[in-house]
Structures are given as C-alpha cells and as structure tokens.
C-alpha cells in the first residue's frame, strides 16, 4: 500500500501528461515556439509537419509552475491557454515539440523538454525553429542563419546551404535550450530563417518553405511543398498591388531592394501598411 502511495505521489509530481507511447528510436527533436513567433514560422512549420507526416499528440508538459494562472489571456476575442505539446511522427522518427514560452522556471522547463525526449525516446539531436527579423525586402531570397552547440554537428550539416550566425546580445529561448542541450551532451542546432521586418507580425511563406525544405532534405520526408508557391505568389501579388497604388510604400520597398536602409519612421510606416494589407481577406 505504501509503495503504491509513493508511486502515486511520484506520478503526480511528474511534469508530464502522457497520452500514449510512440514507436520512436533515437529520434531527432524539433522544437518551435508560439510566443513571439516571428512570421508565424514555428507555428506553421510544426503544423505542416504534423499534418503531412501524421504527427500524433503523445504528451504535454503540465503548465502549472511555468505559466501564470492569476487569470486568463485572450487574443482576438479568444481565450488563450498556454500549451506545451509533444507529437510523434513515427514513420520519419521525429519527435516534435511546440510550446508557449514559459514565464517562470525557464531552466526547469527547458530541462523538462529534454528529459522527456531523452528519458522516453533517447533523442539524438535537437533542432530549434525561430524566425529572425531582417532588414531585407520580401522579394529578396531568404537565408537560414544557424547556431550550433557542437562543432561536430556543424561539420555534419555543411552542404545544406546554412549560414553561420555571429551575435552577442540577449538570448532568445531557443539559444537557452541549445545551451541546456549542450550541457547534457545533446548535439543541436538553432535555425533562424530571415524574415523581412514588415512580415514579422504576419506570415512569411517563403521563410516557412525554406525551413521545411531544409527539414525535408535532412530527414528525407518527401514533403510536397508546392502549396507554398501559391501562398508566396499570392502574398507577392498583394504587396505588388499596394506598391502600384501607393508611391510611398513602393519607394520604401524599392530602397530595401537596392540595399538601402530605411529610417525608423519609414520602417514603421511600411510595417503598419503591410500588416494591415495582409490582415485583409482576399
């Protein structure tokens, strides 16, 4: 009886709610965030992977202790509940995690992600997904800037067209996770696809497609990304129409296309116009 009680207490203290056990063997762990998700990159990439690769929801990290519960957030009239979920794509041996960024106990939370991935499935490597704001025009080709936590993985991913990042400043949660993974001996890479600043609050299908192209190649997933071409064309056409009717916006984008920088006021004006444009239905 005592043993049972102890077991029950131990289970209760687990930070995980496990729905089912998946058939994964040393999978790669892919992590995206839905807080401060620039260009909706993390959300869309993971959504696409789960949909096309048959990702099954297998577990979540319980929110208590990591998120505030003094009330409830809402956005666009909808109640927002913090989510931290794991999916398994068994066919491709991928463990996928998407979450809101924790507000408390970041270190414990990040370790919980890796605890689950290691203890249950012996995950072999980590990929984090986050967009990075760039002062490029939307017509400019995107690059994936990268940060590795081990030189060996950097070496291994030569030839994928990734661009090495150099940066000193406040770390985003992906970098923190990469650091925690290094402490635990898990090789990892953070992917930072460039996103034009004026698409940051909407979606950037070109950056999403580029990221998926990398994952497609890396994991041989055979995904058909043709649908994104339509999205890209549609978005480009909308912006082209705006440029035709608005000389000021056309000037700002043309300056960016020629490699010039906009001042703060011009950047703001362009970002506001595009945000409004892309918020309208077709």
């Amino acid at each position: 009886m005592n043993g049972l009680k102890k077991e029950a207490m131990r289970v209760e203290k687990s930070p995980f709610e496990i729905y089912k056990t998946a058939e994964l063997h040393n999978p790669s762990l892919i992590v995206g965030w839905q807080t401060r998700d620039i260009g909706q990159l993390g959300y869309r990439v993971i959504d696409f992977l789960n949909e096309k690769l048959g990702g099954q929801e297998i577990a979540e990290i319980k929110p208590l202790g990591f998120f505030p519960f003094g009330g409830v957030r809402f956005k666009d009239d909808l109640v927002q509940v913090p989510e931290s979920k794991f999916w398994a794509c068994e066919r491709n041996n991928l463990l996928i995690f998407r979450s809101d960024e924790p507000e408390f106990e970041d270190y414990k939370f990040l370790n919980s992600i890796l605890d689950f991935a290691e203890d249950h499935y012996q995950a072999k490597e980590l990929y984090t997904l986050s967009g990075t704001i760039s002062l490029i025009a939307h017509t400019h080709p995107r690059r994936i800037l990268t940060v590795f936590n081990q030189p060996e993985l950097k070496e291994m991913l030569q030839g994928y067209g990734l661009v090495e990042m150099s940066w000193e400043g406040p770390p985003a949660i992906s970098s923190y996770l990469l650091w925690v993974a290094r402490r635990r001996g898990i090789p990892g890479v953070s992917l930072w696809p460039e996103i034009p600043f004026y698409l940051a609050t909407r979606e950037d299908p070109l950056a999403i497609k580029l990221t998926l192209s990398f994952l497609n190649r890396r994991f041989n997933t055979g995904l058909d990304l043709g649908g994104f071409d339509l999205e890209i064309r549609g978005q480009n056409e909308k912006i082209a129409q705006l440029r035709r009717g608005n000389a000021e916006i056309n000037k700002y984008i043309s300056l960016l296309e020629s490699g010039f920088r906009l001042d703060e006021e011009e950047q703001l004006k362009l970002a506001e116009e595009i945000h409004e444009l892309l918020g309208k239905g077709d």
Partner: protein, 302 residues
C-alpha cells in the same frame, strides 16, 4: 539547485557580509568595495540558472560559445582578528517583473547563502542597503540599523554615525519593511539561529528611484564596516564617483522652482519627520531626466 564550492577553507567563526543591488546600489557598492579592499578570494558560487534568465548569448561563426548569467559568488578572507565570508549577488531573483526579490525564489536564494555560511561556521551576517530619508543630499548620510536581537541593538548603538531605525523619527511605531533580499536574509538568518544586522545608508527620498548610484551613503556604511573590523580603509577612490553624482544631483536641483528649492534646503537645518511636496515634485524632475528605454531581446545577425 546548486552550490559550487571551489574550496572549503577552515575558518574561525567567520562573519558574513552579503550584498545584492538595491536602491542607490548602496549595499552592493559597500560590500563590493570591502571585498576588493580586503582582497577576498573566490570561494564558490550559487549556480545561476535556477534563478535567472541569461543576460547575453555569444555566438561566433555559427557556434554557441556561452551564455552569461548574473553571478552569485562567495569569497573569503582571513584577517588577523576575524575571518570573513562575502556573498555578492549581481541581481536579485525576481518574479513577475518586480524590481526586488520576493517569493519562493528569494527564499531559496537566501537559504542557499546561509547554507554556505553555516557550513563554514558563520554565526553572524551583515547585509546593507538604503534607508530612504528626508535628508538633504549635501548632508552626510547616517547609517540606520536593524538587528535580530536586543544584544545586537546594544552593540550597534556603539557604532559611529549609526542610529537605530526607530530613532529616525520617520516611521510610525518604529515599524517598516526592508524590501528584497538584503532584508529577507535577516529573517532567514534569524530563523536559522544566525545573528543578523542590516546597516542602511541614508538616501534622500526623491533620489530613491534614480537610475544612478548613491556612493555617499555607501561611504558611510563602509566607515562603519571598517570600525567593526578594526581595519583602516582608504576610500579616496570613491571621491571621483561621488563628485560625478553630486554634479548630476546639483544640476537637477538647480532646475527646482525657487519655493521648492527653499523647502528642500531647509532640510539642511531642520530635521523633518514628514514628507512634504518636495518628494513627489522632485521625483518628477528626476524621472523626466533619466527616462530609461528598453529593447526586446532576441538574436540578430551582427
């Protein structure tokens, strides 16, 4: 939640000096200065990641070099008559964007500091901070004390330029709160049977929200520490910082309306016990002058 000790020196009933940043950074300046002058050696640290989000990431040529966290370090020094331990925390662990530590994390941090102190035989701990007072900035700040026992009250009464908080005349019934870890540590120490004393340098009320330090009060606290330890401390290096801050304060005062300035200058001659209009109005002046901006975090390519 870890403590990492690089060495475990044999110390004879060491006194512990503990400091975190706070109002005017008075306590942390005093503790850091004392530690530097006495050439205390690094002893260990409290691992930061359980308490703080990293401040900086360094990435070079696509490789993550390191994350930089606020440090929480222990130091020690053996003097002829007393052994000393120092703990200096670069930041207070906060929850919910507050300025000073509170809640579970603060309690855990205070206990970890005490764990090390007790392990090394510590029986007394000093913290320091600011005492927000109705003084004029040209006056020499006094040191206000709070202790964990009646015996210690008798002792601090002998300290130079030091008064008990109940003697400041500004707090009804001698009651008040020492916010943040410089205060909380006193409670945790008392609970765990360690004598504790907090020595707070006076800072003019209207400067309590300023973004610059107030070294003049740190000097007063340091003078008391020097007396307690029976050591001579050369504080001439503080003159430059004090001079620079004095200039800033004088330039703000010069912009006070005449009647406000007159009211404020009266503080030099008449000790006040109740805040007047000066407090709020002067705070507005200082807020406008030292408005702080902030950037969102996140990686960007260099």
């Amino acid at each position: 939640m870890g403590i990492k000790l690089y060495r475990e020196p044999r110390l004879e009933k060491p006194i512990m000096f503990v400091g975190w940043p706070g109002i005017g950074n008075i306590g942390i300046i005093a503790m850091n200065t004392l530690r530097g002058i006495l050439k205390a050696e690094e002893l260990g640290e409290i691992e930061s990641w359980d308490f703080f989000y990293p401040r900086k990431v360094s990435v070079r040529d696509g490789l993550l070099e390191d994350l930089d966290f606020p440090s929480n370090k222990f130091y020690y020094q053996r003097l002829e008559q007393k052994d000393l331990i120092f703990f200096i925390g670069e930041e207070q662990p906060t929850e919910g964007g507050r300025m000073y530590a509170r809640g579970e994390k603060a309690y855990q941090m205070a206990n970890l500091v005490l764990d090390v102190g007790l392990k090394l035989g510590c029986q007394r701990v000093y913290t320091s901070g600011a005492c927000v007072s109705l003084i004029h900035h040209q006056m020499k700040p006094r040191v206000c004390a709070v202790t964990s026992s009646e015996e210690l009250i008798k002792e601090v009464k002998k300290y130079q330029n030091t008064i008990l908080m109940s003697e400041t005349g500004e707090r009804r019934g001698g009651e008040g709160t020492i916010t943040g870890l410089n205060g909380l540590l006193l409670a945790v120490a008392k609970k765990r049977g360690v004598e504790s004393i907090c020595l707070m340098g006076e800072i003019p009320d209207w400067l309590s929200g300023a973004s610059f330090p107030y070294p003049k009060a740190a000097r007063s606290v340091l003078e008391v520490f020097a007396m307690i330890l029976g050591v001579g401390i050369d504080l001439t290096f503080l003159n430059k910082m004090e001079g620079q801050i004095e200039e800033i304060i004088e330039s703000i005062c010069a912009k006070f309306p005449p009647e406000m300035k007159e009211e404020y200058d009266r503080r030099k001659f008449i000790p006040q016990t109740k805040p007047g209009t000066i407090t709020i109005q002067a705070q507005i002046y200082i807020d406008e002058r030292f408005k702080k901006g902030g950037d969102e975090g996140g990686e960007k390519p260099i």
